[in-house]
């Protein structure tokens, strides 16, 4: 049984088949890239894995548990973190609070003990703050920890969103286009950080349009086109796959 | 005496009041479709229509039809004013603010009415006498038939307005995709402005037709407005047909409930129905085109 396995998923939107019999397996500890033209169903697959939408048929297993019909929060409790293609940062909180909110499930206090600020709440909050600052240091945002998240630049917000997912200490992290809208140097640093995250034992599934980045960091790549999985394998294999070239060239013509 | 004996009578009364709920509900839907605003001052238009007619009739000595016409026009102008002075400046505000603004307008309108026209309950003379007609054992006041007829006519004209004219299409477009409509040169603000006028007019007409049967007073508007909204949600929020169906269902259920529960609880019936429908089927009976959108 692989770490994350998606079994023959079908998903329809108003009669349009977004995903057709897609099966995908992710081994523990690797970086898996998921690429494909726009509208191929990558983000839909992410929504299904993180429980925000339900498939019409098929099953999704994470660490052997069936998560197909679980609520999003239950899935994240199992150790699946994610970021969004359309940035979902909490702009009304400070940077460090965004990270600390990511630790929500790891802090065990309830409403009453928080309201009464019992001694152990004080202690865990202190520890959480320290840990959040460590994460920010790793992401290079420590200098701005007191800023409101909405005051950060777009690139920094994307990094922050990744940090928030990291804060829950996930075993699997789903990154939805982390490099979109970043400058070349930011992409470089992002690549380094993703590799570093992997070194700490986190499995990563990344959707990305930035080919250079995916080819460089991914151990395996899966290619989706029109809701179907057309190729899977190491970057070199995928790069030479005629179907992939066809899909991308066609997409390019259509886009132009 | 068994309550069953009253049922046909209560049913016909329910249909009459249901027609009014339907019209008020339509007013809510018209504004919401153009702007995604819920105008809690909607019920005040109903009250204003009746009140202004009463004073034109009694104080101004105008003939009945003219008084009614002038009242409707005045209420439409008040509807326009409400949009220009309150909702237009707040067009970018968040839901709680809009909610408070329309509720504030409702407080202002109803209490200003009390100031100007007094706090006594008023009634209007029936259009064609008060002699009840007996149809198959049920007594119906002729006014009920007028209410139904007026509702029917208004529905048809609203249907024609929204489906057969360019204006209606423009309203529809600016509601479903405000930005897109803006880009096509449809002024969203103008559409909302017109929607306020239309729904104010409908409210006023409803008020004028219903007041010969039920009394009205300065604070009656709020409750009628809320029940109209309940009707619109019950039938299917955002659909004209939903508001109509919901209005009649609500009117009949509320009226029939008198036979089975103490009459003091009558006002709670609408809200119990509301909670039930929101819990079990927020889409309403006919389904709602709005339900997935962000605001509801």
């Amino acid at each position: 049984m692989s770490f994350l396995s998606v079994e023959e998923i079908i998903k329809n939107y108003d009669g349009v088949r977004a995903l057709n019999q897609v099966s995908l397996h992710v081994r523990k500890g690797i970086i898996k890239g998921l690429i494909g033209p726009n509208g191929a169903g990558k983000t839909t697959l992410f929504h299904l894995i993180s429980g925000m939408e339900r498939p019409a048929s098929g099953k999704i297993y994470f660490k052997g548990t069936d998560i197909t019909s679980m609520e999003p929060y239950e899935i994240s409790l199992l150790g699946v973190g994610r970021t969004f293609q359309t940035l979902q940062i909490w702009g009304n909180m400070t940077v460090v609070e965004n990270i600390m909110a990511g630790m929500h499930t790891r802090l065990k206090e309830g409403f009453l003990s928080c309201g009464l600020w019992l001694p152990w709440v004080k202690r865990t909050e202190k520890e959480a703050l320290k840990e959040a600052k460590e994460i920010l240091e790793f992401l290079g945002l420590l200098g701005r920890w007191k800023w409101l998240a909405s005051q950060l630049s777009f690139g920094q917000q994307k990094i922050l969103e990744m940090g928030r997912a990291l804060a829950m200490k996930p075993e699997l992290i789903l990154l939805d286009e982390p490099a979109a809208g970043l400058t070349a140097t930011e992409v470089r640093r992002l690549a380094e950080r993703i590799c570093q995250i992997r070194k700490e034992g986190v499995t990563i599934l990344v959707v990305e349009h930035h080919m250079g980045l995916v080819m460089e960091i991914a151990d395996e790549i899966a290619v989706l086109n029109n809701g179907e999985l057309i190729a899977e394998g190491t970057p070199d294999v995928v790069r030479r796959n005629p179907q992939v070239i066809e899909a991308y060239l066609k997409g390019a013509r259509v886009d132009a | 005496m068994t309550p069953w004996a009253y049922i046909p009578q209560l049913f016909s009364a329910g249909i009459t009041i249901g027609a009014i709920y339907a019209l008020v509900g339509l007013g809510f839907v018209t504004i919401a479709r153009a702007s995604q605003i819920i105008n809690f001052a909607q019920g005040e238009f109903v009250m204003l229509g009746a009140m202004i007619t009463f004073f034109l009739l009694k104080g101004g000595g105008l003939p009945y039809p003219l008084a009614a016409l002038v009242a409707v026009i005045l209420v439409v102008i008040i509807g326009f004013l409400l949009h220009i002075t309150v909702l237009y400046p707040l067009r970018k505000a968040s839901i709680p603010i809009l909610l408070m603004a329309t509720l504030g307008a409702s407080i202002f309108i109803s209490n200003t009415t009390a100031l100007v026209f007094g706090t006594l309950p008023r009634t209007l003379p029936a259009f064609l006498g008060n002699q009840p007609l007996q149809i198959g054992g049920i007594f119906i006041v002729p006014q009920s038939l007028f209410v139904l007829g007026a509702t029917f006519l208004l529905l048809i004209s609203l249907y024609l307005l929204s489906h057969r004219t360019l204006l209606g299409k423009a309203m529809e477009a600016s509601s479903t995709d405000p930005l897109g409509a803006d880009l096509l040169g449809i002024s969203r603000n103008l559409m909302v402005f017109l929607a306020f006028g239309v729904s104010a007019g409908m409210g006023a007409i409803a008020g004028i037709f219903i007041t010969p049967i039920f009394y009205t007073s300065y604070h009656a508007g709020t409750l009628i407005g809320l029940k109209g909204f309940v009707a619109a949600v019950l039938g299917g929020w955002g659909k004209n047909s939903g508001a109509i169906l919901g209005g009649f269902v609500l009117g009949v259920v509320e009226s029939l409930s008198i036979a089975f529960i103490p009459s003091g609880y009558k006002d709670a019936v609408a809200f119990v129905i509301l909670l039930l429908i929101l819990y079990f089927r927020p889409k309403g009976i006919l389904g709602s085109p709005f339900i997935d959108s962000r605001r509801w």
Partner: protein, 361 residues
């Protein structure tokens, strides 16, 4: 939320920015409360506390004392709603109903069953919270206008039940002769004593809310208000958080209701209709969404306003409606928030100026 668009600063802005800045030295920072983790109790809080203690002694005017008691009760209501509306971002038009439940719980327990007021005080909050739990569980899946409508429906149903169940609540006539609040033989029988009681309770609840806001619960509130999707992906149970905010707000309203019953010594269904709910929401909106001191300031202001307007008899309600609308139009994001944004412009203006000068050198 802070507007980050760096607008150009004009000279004439000084006209209001300087007085506002002076005001800000004593007024709370709107919406930045939850950011101050380190300092739990600031010097500014001491100012407030001192002011509160001395105020009734400096003005020995019983009308003012009574007004401040009512303001304190309203502030407790607004504080509770602020957690639900200002932080968790959900609308409730039925908050007055929980206040009413508090009033009637105390009234019934003390007059019918002879419970001491102190017990009734806690029972009121518990009953309110329990009912909020039962009501909130099904209806909190709704959002925006529908949630507002459902809570409004609940409030109306509650009113009808109170009016109609004569044997329990006394119907429209209500319940009379509720005893003064008393604790260990000490009876709060003057407005001055009630003033300290109400504001004491308010300070306790304020500290509770402050703790809540700076803990993980407060972060979850804000997260749910901004993006429920993102909140659920980090494992926040959105439904539970909303329900928690609702129940806590209701418990606060229960406390407020109990105090109100003891202060007025009557319970009457006309006190807590839709108008009260509107008033409470206005307090929160004017004080600024997402801060704790603002609603208290809003409560004092609006209580005072309603009292002033009361002198104008039949003109009071139209003027009240007009003022509500005018306030909303001129301060759509709360007086407090608007004030703070101006301050940020001011600070950024001087900051930029300095930087510019440096660059030129």
């Amino acid at each position: 939320m802070v507007d980050t668009n760096q607008k150009e600063f004009r000279k004439r802005d000084l006209l209001y920015v300087v007085p506002l800045w002076l005001l800000s030295l004593i007024l709370p920072d709107p919406h930045l409360d939850h950011l101050r983790k380190e300092s739990r109790f600031r010097r500014r809080d001491l100012f407030y506390l001192g002011g509160l203690l001395l105020l009734p002694l400096m003005w020995p005017d019983t009308h003012l004392h009574h007004l401040m008691v009512l303001a304190g009760i309203n502030a407790i209501l607004a504080l509770g709603l602020s957690l639900f509306l200002g932080y968790a971002g959900q609308i409730s038009l039925g908050h007055a109903a929980f206040f009413g439940i508090g009033v009637y719980t105390t009234a019934i327990l003390t007059t019918r069953y002879g419970f001491p007021t102190f017990v009734a005080f806690w029972a009121s909050a518990l009953v309110s919270a329990a009912l909020a739990y039962l009501i909130g569980k099904p209806i909190l899946k709704l959002k925006g206008y529908f949630l507002a409508l459902a809570t409004l429906g609940f409030g109306e149903i509650f009113l009808v039940i109170v009016r109609e169940s004569h044997s329990l609540t006394g119907g429209v006539i209500g319940i009379f002769g509720i005893p003064w609040f008393s604790l260990a033989g000490f009876s709060f029988d003057t407005y001055l004593k009630q003033y300290y009681l109400t504001w004491g309770v308010l300070i306790g609840l304020l500290l509770f809310s402050k703790n809540l806001i700076r803990s993980k619960i407060g972060r979850a509130f804000l997260a749910v208000a901004t993006s429920e999707d993102a909140a659920s992906t980090v494992g926040i149970k959105v439904a539970q958080i909303k329900l928690g905010a609702f129940v806590i707000g209701a418990a606060f309203a229960g406390f407020a209701g109990s105090l109100f019953a003891c202060v007025m010594s009557t319970a009457n269904p006309e006190t807590f209709g839709l108008n009260l709910s509107v008033l409470i929401i206005m307090m929160v909106i004017l004080g600024g969404m997402g801060n704790l001191y603002g609603p208290i300031a809003g409560a004092i202001f609006l209580t005072w306003l309603v009292d002033i307007l009361g002198k104008y008899q039949e003109y009071s309600l139209p003027i009240y409606g007009l003022i509500l609308i005018l306030l909303l139009i001129s301060f759509p994001d709360g007086i407090g928030t608007r004030l703070n944004i101006r301050l940020i412009y001011l600070i950024s203006y001087f900051g930029r100026k300095k930087r510019r000068e440096k660059a030129e050198l």
